[in-house]
């Protein structure tokens, strides 16, 4: 039987297991939208195509599948660019489908024509221009295969309007995709394995670096088994959070620019770094010339282009993390390493005293309090999706994630506006989970229109707006490095409670520390989505902080406690 390209598209998507897509219609994608009504597809109508891409991304990160976003040609497609770049830098599997003007019009500057495969070439893992209905099925299959295999990433499919409209015979081919040049299954040689094993067993002061690759390869159990057997402490990257349980005694916390002081100090002292699916981002290393000089480095990554990119490694091991570690595990010797662990414990020094959590209530509301209380009330079981800025770092420090895929955040691109739509996507992937968006007053306003999506889809996503009246992270840099000249960082904000109500959602404002727990509890109990606005200290800063270009252990520490009184 003959089918139109549009019909083939949906059937091919369903064959890939797709049930939910996030999108926004328009002329060039109209034939696909029309055909969609015949298929069991849940379409989530977004308010901006950037929202659709972040939703697809959040859907993928929370659920472990591939997220799908749909848009029309021209402005619809270009609105996706930020979301595609976000997914690319964080290796998130996503398929974006855009309509394109008719094949005969390509190149003529036709209405709403944009060369979106050209535009997205450097920010997609791969992309396709499809101009014949007979290519639709194979291309969809390839797109999903490329998006999720190897190092995952976004793939864009640009389908001309006539390819959607015209018909052809389809034969469904269930065979494996073969792409002659694409080898996601590279593996290291035995000899390299042996070098890695010897190094691990000989190390006196090793640290495991838990990266995003743990989640992407599902290596949580084997990482834990290796850490426990050899008693190796574990430090996490921002995107590695959740890959190793926060409450595990071997967990040190986050490394890097806003990592805990003892974690960075321990890295500088270590004699072996075991990088598990992480890419030594500059936020992680600080100044490369002084980085972990005493340590040998074993780097396990599925993408060989990451080896020796930033940090010279002694043993690069190519392959899927879980597969590689399962091969290594039986050869890892049991180890005690209690003196190394004691030394790290020693490095904690007065950190606990400096921690804001241990200060008496001064009547002021700090973002750290909000996050920590949110963690306690939800018992660390929620999926928390953050935006970008100070609140993001406080989330990483004070919400203790024990489960993989429970922190969703834009790490590599640092995309403001990510949280709200990505949280919506996460909720669709995990409808039974409690989902919170933790978002700054600045970033919230970048994609706040998606509150309408929450209302229309009637989903329960709670939103905690950390309102400090500033583009806080930028303000912090201005405070530290630009002589407190607050150029363009103070914000005049709308009344967020009223805004929530305007969308038919519930809003609540919290101004005192004592109001945090009741506020969070009320939000959890409420049937619909709740927007909780926390009016926090305006000029609070994130500590510790490694200033740009400084050595990793030369941090600006948390200030020594000045015990505040309610009158301050």
């Amino acid at each position: 039987m003959k089918r139109t390209g549009a019909q083939i598209l949906w059937e091919a998507l369903i064959r890939e297991g797709v049930s939910t897509v996030f999108g926004y219609p328009g002329g060039a994608i109209l034939p696909a939208y029309d055909a969609m009504l015949e298929f069991p597809i849940q379409h989530v109508l977004v308010r901006h195509e950037q929202g659709a891409t972040h939703m697809a991304d959040g859907y993928a990160r929370a659920g472990g599948g591939v997220g799908v976003a749909v848009a029309t040609s021209g402005p619809g497609a270009t609105n996706m660019v930020t979301g595609i770049a976000t997914a690319m830098l964080d290796s998130s599997p996503m398929v974006c489908i855009t309509g394109q003007v008719g094949g005969k019009l390509i190149g003529s500057d036709a209405f709403q024509e944009t060369d979106i495969t050209g535009v997205t070439l450097p920010i997609t893992k791969h992309n396709y221009l499809v101009s014949r209905p007979q290519d639709v099925a194979r291309t969809v299959k390839e797109a999903f295969y490329v998006a999720k295999s190897g190092r995952p990433g976004p793939v864009l499919l640009d389908i001309t309007k006539d390819a959607q409209q015209s018909s052809c015979e389809v034969e469904w081919d269930d065979s494996e995709v073969t792409l002659p040049g694409y080898r996601p299954d590279l593996r290291a040689t035995q000899e390299v394995y042996q070098r890695a094993i010897d190094m691990i067993n000989e190390a006196k002061r090793p640290i495991i670096f838990a990266g995003h690759g743990i989640m992407l390869s599902g290596a949580m159990d084997v990482v834990r088994a290796i850490a426990e057997r050899a008693n190796i402490p574990v430090a996490m990257t921002l995107l590695g959070i959740g890959g190793f349980p926060a409450r595990h005694p071997l967990n040190l916390g986050m490394m890097g620019m806003h990592g805990e002081a003892w974690v960075n100090s321990a890295i500088q002292e270590a004699d072996l770094l075991l990088a598990f699916g992480m890419r030594f981002d500059d936020r992680v290393t600080g100044n490369l010339a002084t980085y972990a000089q005493n340590a040998k480095k074993i780097h396990i990554d599925i993408d060989p282009a990451e080896f020796n990119k930033n940090v010279k490694v002694d043993v690069p091991l190519t392959g899927d993390l879980r597969t590689v570690l399962e091969e290594i595990l039986p050869h890892v010797a049991e180890g005690d390493r209690s003196s190394w662990r004691a030394a790290i414990e020693e490095m904690k020094g007065d950190c606990a005293v400096r921690d804001i959590q241990n200060l008496p209530d001064s009547g002021h509301l700090y973002a750290a309090h909000v996050i920590n209380d949110l963690w306690r009330v939800t018992d660390g079981d929620a999926i928390v999706v953050t935006d970008v800025g100070q609140h993001q770092m406080w989330e990483a420090q004070y919400y203790h994630h024990d489960h993989p895929r429970s922190l969703i955040t834009s790490g590599g691109l640092g995309t403001m506006g990510f949280a709200l739509p990505a949280a919506i996507g996460a909720k669709f992937a995990c409808p039974d989970k409690e989902v919170w968006a933790v978002v700054g007053d600045g970033g919230f306003q970048m994609t706040q229109a998606e509150l309408a999506t929450i209302a229309q889809e009637q989903i329960k996503v709670n939103v905690a707006i950390i309102n400090n009246g500033y583009l806080g992270m930028v303000r912090q840099w201005q405070e530290f490095f630009y002589d407190r000249r607050y150029a363009a960082t103070p914000l005049l904000n709308p009344d967020f409670v009223k805004l929530a109500e305007a969308y038919g959602l519930s809003g609540m404002a919290v101004t005192k520390r004592a109001g945090v727990v009741p506020g969070v509890e009320a939000a959890r109990e409420h049937a619909g989505a709740v927007i909780l606005e926390f009016k926090v200290e305006q000029e609070d800063s994130v500590f510790p902080m490694v200033p740009a270009g400084a050595a990793l252990d030369k941090m600006i520490r948390r200030p020594n406690p000045i015990v505040e009184t309610a009158a301050d």
Binding site: T117, L179, G181, R187, N308, V313
Partner: protein, 188 residues
Amino acid sequence: MRHTFAVHVEDTPGVLNRVASLFRRRAFNIESLTVGHTETAGVSRMTIVADTDDHGALRLEANLYKLVNVLRVDDITVRPSVQRDLAMIKVAATPETRTHVMQLVDVFRARVIDVAPDSVIIEATGPEDKIDGLVEVLRQYGVIEMVRTGCVAMARGPKIGGLGDGVERGTQVADDAPADDSNVSYSV
């Protein structure tokens, strides 16, 4: 340092753009790039000369492999190879100077492929420095126009391997010797 890569790619629309874009995105400078068909239908071969150190060359190779349409990358700088550039040079040649020009053409084992009243077109092939030398000596007569293909290169001896079979590739550390891939099959 100059590195010469032989890059086999699928002959699909946009592939040249993808490769060139990669060099730009990763901030590598292309000195020359040529592309043409190979002995295998559907497979094109590029010769790319880039100015980078050994570390950069390894990164380039690994990044080229990330392009879905790239089948095989060989940095043939590290192998014995032959490299050729083809040039057509239009030189002013009056009845008085023509014999001199012809003599130079002979010395460089080049050929005259067109003669006009006031000029000749010379065809020369050879390593780039030989052609540079020819151009240099022709300048005094007046080089009117020149076109060069850029370098094409081929490793000597038996054909270098084919597609990987899943064994590590593009993963060497800068001071390692080039990988021995004699045990992989050629399947493009």
